[in-house]
């Protein structure tokens, strides 16, 4: 089976010297949905930023991240960014154009789509995110759930093969969470989801990695890991409600 992403011994320290990642190695198979969990400060967001080449911001020539067989070096970065769609934690950081249409069209424009292609992919991406009709809306008039979905549309419009999502359901009310779950479930692409929403991980991800203090402490089937109460508590997490009761839903 082809690996979508291969990470080998990835290390990263912040400019102020603090170590964020201390030797991470794992692979993601094509079409897999991987959950990435861990306490705050474990390095989840930093790891995601390495998957599309945003980090490291200084190149030392050697790349520890390989996407679809291509190492994440300067020469490949443009292609990799098209293949890996990264959804940031704060939608206000990612929604920077004056209207929804312009924002969703941003990525396709940068990647050189033609005018017709741009139009088509924006409409399609908005439909996938449940936002048809939002084209002319201004971002500052949207709720946070709507903003999140616009960001998702903006990433989907680039037609990525891999989705990397940083806390996609944070600050959403239960209805918002459910609708995002449904949308993500319907997308057949490879997914990596860094999140505290363990219910979603159980629902969407067959495999989970537990990260703590810059290291992988567990890598295996979701239900097994998240059902392990000791493991969860040791690493600042909790066994999700959905696994606590053993009656069928």
């Amino acid at each position: 089976m082809n690996n979508a992403i291969e990470v080998t011994d990835l290390k990263y320290s912040y400019p102020d010297g603090k170590e964020a990642l201390r030797g991470i190695s794992f692979t993601i198979a094509e079409g897999e949905c991987l959950g990435l969990v861990g306490p705050n400060g474990s390095g989840k967001s930093t790891l995601l930023l390495h998957l599309n080449g945003i980090l490291p911001d200084t190149s030392d020539g050697v790349s520890h991240v390989v996407v679809h067989g291509k190492p994440a070096t300067k020469s490949n970065v443009a292609t990799i960014r098209r293949e890996v769609g990264l959804l940031f934690q704060d939608p206000d950081d990612q929604l920077f154009c004056p209207t929804v249409f312009e924002d969703v069209a941003f990525g396709p424009q940068q990647f050189g789509f033609s005018e017709e292609e741009i139009h088509a992919t924006v409409i399609r991406a908005l439909a996938l995110s449940g936002l048809s009709g939002f084209e002319k809306r201004s971002p500052h008039h949207l709720s946070i759930g709507e903003k999140r979905r616009v960001c998702l549309a903006g990433v989907l419009a680039c037609e990525p093969k891999i989705l990397a999502l940083d806390e996609p359901t944070s600050n959403l009310d239960p209805r918002g969470k459910r609708s995002l779950h449904e949308i993500l479930k319907s997308l057949p692409v490879t997914k990596v989801i860094a999140t505290h929403d363990l219910e979603m991980v159980v629902e969407l991800c067959t495999r989970t990695i537990v990260l703590d203090d810059g290291l992988i402490v567990a890598d295996g089937p979701t239900v097994e890991l998240l059902g392990n109460e000791d493991l969860m508590l040791t690493h600042g997490l909790e066994k999700p409600h959905i696994l606590r009761h053993h009656h069928p839903h």
Binding site: N52, I54, L86, Q94, T99, G107, Q110, C158
Partner: protein, 203 residues
């Protein structure tokens, strides 16, 4: 976003809103030029302009209270300078002229800013060959205006709930520190926006 009230009416549906932005801008410019250049002795012209503006307001469906509110907030500046003009020969005529002209121009600007979404103004500016660098800065400034207003408010509320010293000196120090914090947060956010832009292919 609580402050979207500042930009609430630019997307209403009315015949005025539907007019193309470029034409609206040019029309407003023409109206302002005429108002400024012509002497108020031609009172019929000014009366006509006032009627035109009032009719446009009616058609545009913007609440009268809102227009009045904006006029009241913005008028004092004009009033202040106009008062200076009173202290000269023929001062009263100049004063009245200033007041009438500036109020009509202000009214025109209130109308156009509330019937044209800023994104369309940017498109019109782009067509007028305004450099794209400036357009991008304007677009980003507009987009993050409300985000920063909210952040500033949150910082203010947090501060107010922690300090009990209302002296003016403390106030200035805490406000300045707040502004400093706002800049720091803005520059941190700018870094994240840059990461988001490059993630979607920006160079």
């Amino acid at each position: 976003m609580r402050h979207d009230f500042l930009d609430r009416y630019s997307r209403l549906r009315s015949p005025v809103h539907r007019l193309p932005s470029g034409s609206k801008l040019l029309l407003s410019l023409a109206l302002i030029v005429v108002t400024v250049s012509v002497s108020i002795d031609h009172s019929l012209l000014f009366f006509g302009i006032a009627v035109l503006l009032l009719c446009t307001t009616f058609v545009s469906r913007i609440p009268w209270k809102f227009i009045l509110g904006r006029l009241l907030v913005l008028e004092p500046f004009a009033l202040g300078v106009a008062v200076m003009a009173l202290f000269q020969q023929g001062g009263l005529h100049v004063f009245l002229s200033l007041l009438i002209k500036s109020t009509l121009c202000l009214y025109t600007m209130i109308l156009i800013s509330n019937t044209t979404p800023f994104s369309e103004i940017l498109t019109a500016l782009r067509k007028m060959r305004v450099p794209s660098f400036l357009i991008t800065v304007l677009a980003l400034a507009y987009r993050y205006l409300f985000v920063l207003i909210d952040e500033g408010e949150r910082l203010q509320r947090a501060r107010r709930s922690r300090t009990f010293d209302r002296s003016r000196r403390r106030n200035w120090m805490s406000l300045s520190s707040l502004i400093g914090q706002l800049f720091i947060r803005s520059s941190e956010r700018a870094e994240r926006i840059f990461a988001a832009m490059t993630s979607r292919g920006w160079k």
